[in-house]
Point group: C3
Chain length 348, copies 3
């Protein structure tokens, strides 16, 4: 593919000499003259100036760059498209590996790939072109749609429903029991978790994620959600479309998050609350009550980010302020004693 | 089962017309007239008013509810009992799947179920009626009691001892090496972790939980503990009976938690400390020193919750207070200059 | 082994009667007169006074201890050496288990051990003496060096490179896709993650750890790093030599940590920043910007620990200070009214 063709493919403009790209996409630091690279974060401008790449994809024309530039309005998206074009995913062997265990009434779509040591429970259905990699467990009556990719060592329990083009990474557990007990003041009695999980189309789920099944009804991950590694999603939670959950965040039972939210890393969200659409919760925050849509919050407990930042700034001044306050108190006491002396004099 | 029979079964009183329940238990929102539902959190009163369920289980008689009510002192416990009655767990196939790998000297109790691709190490013992689901690894000389349920893709390392009626969810790792190294100032030398783990009766362990084996001796999870997903328990930790550890909390080496505590989500507990009985640690707190029993703590570092809440309230006022303080300082300076002027006048 | 031989082996001095140790190493509490124990944390002095052990290893001679003492400058290191000597790891059966699945072009070193239900992808290479325990997945073209130990249910994806003497615990996932998407304002487009992961010699990786592959290039874990359970390492991260990452910490994309750092439990580190050498980040901290080397930080956002501690101390005084401030304001107002009255009198 030539640079001019690449520019056309990603909807950008070539600035510089045309040239064949035979080595695909590479990092600024390691790219060779047969490769193309990419500059999104201005922090890395210096690397772009020193790169050996044939060209870099940029948002605006950049100075001091020796190689060609492909300028396009959304360079990150162009980069994604180009990577997908030049580095297609590895081909999976079609069919069912001889070491896979298939229980009765399993239904397999066309062109599926089922790897070694996979276990497919009774009555589960796997859609067309879907790849189930080795050592995966799929429970009874679970339904997985077309064009999904399930990585090794994933566990999907019984009666889970998964849409199309879903990707689930290794170690993820979908449909484990919700954490529900009734207490009698002394010990705890398990509440059977008879509900299920619904994962809609185009969801991606990171490695070692835990998504619990509902007590009754369904835990729902809506279309287009992206979930990073080691995230905890409790029973009966509902996540709106195109919402992003970053690594190690957790959300407790029956809470709902709206559409197009970003919940950053290590955030905790308590149970039984509702978060509106387009909300950003900054890293390590703790959300303890309902949040209206269209806002950015920070802190534990989380409040609007400008308020929390003002508190952090004030807090930094506290030790100095405490000293100043002590001095003010002494000055105040001195004035008071002068005033009382004066009064006494006036009386005398 | 009729509503009157259900009322009797859970020890409650039927208020409303008797009726056959053929569809089991369901959520308020989705229940049909052949189903029974449940209202514990007053937040959901409105859903109860609009439900199509034949009846709802409640703690006290509620107004504006059209369907029958079953009133009982602990409705959540009634709900748990009813679910267990109407929705018994799926039957597991008895015996050992042909694809399971059994090393020498394995002892299997009666009525066990060992799934596909399971690995049972040398000399391990599995109790009666215990279910080991597919792709589980059990290490050498590990002992698992009667009536346990081990979900797929669980790893239980060598020489672990597990009691009766224990449930372990997928992806959990029991008995991995404790995180112990000796340092020489430059590099780290591994301390062999030759101890073990003891899991007592009726413990439940969530998905993707890590419980490390002791360096020497045993890491202990006492009877009736309930552990949520993605929890970290380090080497030589001891957790008292009926204590609840919520998702993503972590506890460092050699610390001890008493009986009947609740440690909320994302809490961190440092090593080598002791927490008494009946302690509640609120979400995202960091416990840095010993805690006496019978208290609720919050914050990082964690302190009694009323103190922390007072601090949070004061902190919210800080930016305003800083401004006020500046004005006070000006007023003070003004008074001082007046006083000094006055003095000067008096002297003159 | 006699106490005198042990003293010599660990480079220490025997204080007390010589004696045969036939039972190896044990905890202070449970040790028998045929065992040796160990006192590092002074907190456990009392247990040492009451132990039945034949001897304890200590840093300095301790009072009130009835048994023999072996005194050596680094008792923890001595303990590590002694444990390794007296409790060698279990022997693994050599060869490839009949239930393992080997794809084409797999290269196996001498003396390897490949357990049941293991999957070895096309073209992967396993070094000499390396042990791959049951139910492990190794992806295509991945290279694992000599003397490694891979515990059950580990997933190592394609094209990962692992050095020598590396230990990886159960449930860990190495080389899952980085969390990278391009947004068009509405939905997210996956950026193919075509890079890899490099794990250098003597690294140890805990259970249920997630280490993502790079988008382009490599995620790097340098020689001698020790990683605790449930840690999250994002794409393109680089960790310097002999750095310790404690349980449940997480680091976002493209950030770098220097050599010989200790990042404590539940710490979060944002993306695209650099942390110098010899930095300690205390538990639950949130690192939001570059950190120079050779310092200890605490807090979220993390600042030098002495500053944060002063802030915590000031914060504890806040509620009282707020009250005092109110009183000061009243006193100030009183003075002001007196002054204004006085002025009025003077004018009159």
């Amino acid at each position: 593919m030539k640079l001019s063709e690449i520019a056309q493919y990603v909807g950008g403009q070539l600035d510089g000499a045309d040239r064949e790209i035979s080595g695909g996409v590479a990092e600024l630091r390691s790219a060779t003259p047969a490769q193309i690279s990419f500059l999104a974060n201005p922090k890395y401008q210096k690397l772009a100036e020193e790169t050996n790449a044939a060209a870099v994809i940029v948002a605006k024309k950049r100075k001091n760059i020796k190689c060609a530039q492909i300028i396009c309005p959304n360079p990150y998206l162009a980069f994604a498209k180009l990577l997908a074009k030049l580095h297609p995913p590895p081909k999976r062997e079609k069919g069912v590996h001889s070491s896979a265990v298939l229980e009765s009434r399993v239904e397999l779509g066309e062109n599926i790939s089922v790897g070694g040591n996979v276990y497919l429970g009774k009555g589960c259905k796997i859609g067309e072109n879907t790849v189930i990699m080795p050592n995966v467990f799929i429970g009874a009556d679970t339904v997985i749609g077309n064009d999904c990719l399930i990585y090794p060592n994933v566990t999907i329990r019984e009666r889970v429903v998964i849409g199309e083009r879903v990707i689930i990474h290794s170690g993820a557990v979908i449909g484990s029991d919700g954490f529900g007990y009734a207490a009698d003041g002394e010990r705890y009695y398990k509440i059977p978790q008879i509900g299920s999980v619904l994962i809609e189309d185009e969801v991606e789920i990171g490695s070692n994620v835990s998504i619990d099944r509902a007590t009754l009804g369904r835990t729902v991950i809506s279309k287009g959600c992206k979930i990073d590694n080691l995230v905890q999603i409790a029973h009966n939670v509902e996540i709106g479309e195109n919402t992003v959950l970053v690594a190690q965040m957790g959300i407790a039972g029956s809470s709902r998050i709206g559409k197009h939210c970003t919940i950053a890393g290590q955030v905790g969200i308590v149970g039984h609350i509702t978060i509106g659409d387009n909300v950003v919760v900054a890293g390590q925050s703790g959300v303890t009550k309902d949040l209206a849509g269209n806002q950015i919050v920070l802190g534990s407990p989380a409040i609007p980010i400008t308020q929390e930042r003002r508190q952090i700034a004030s807090r930094a001044l506290l030790p100095e302020t405490m000293k100043k306050l002590k001095i003010m108190e002494e000055r105040l006491a001195k004035l008071e004693s002068q005033a009382s002396l004066k009064k006494k004099e006036d009386c005398d």
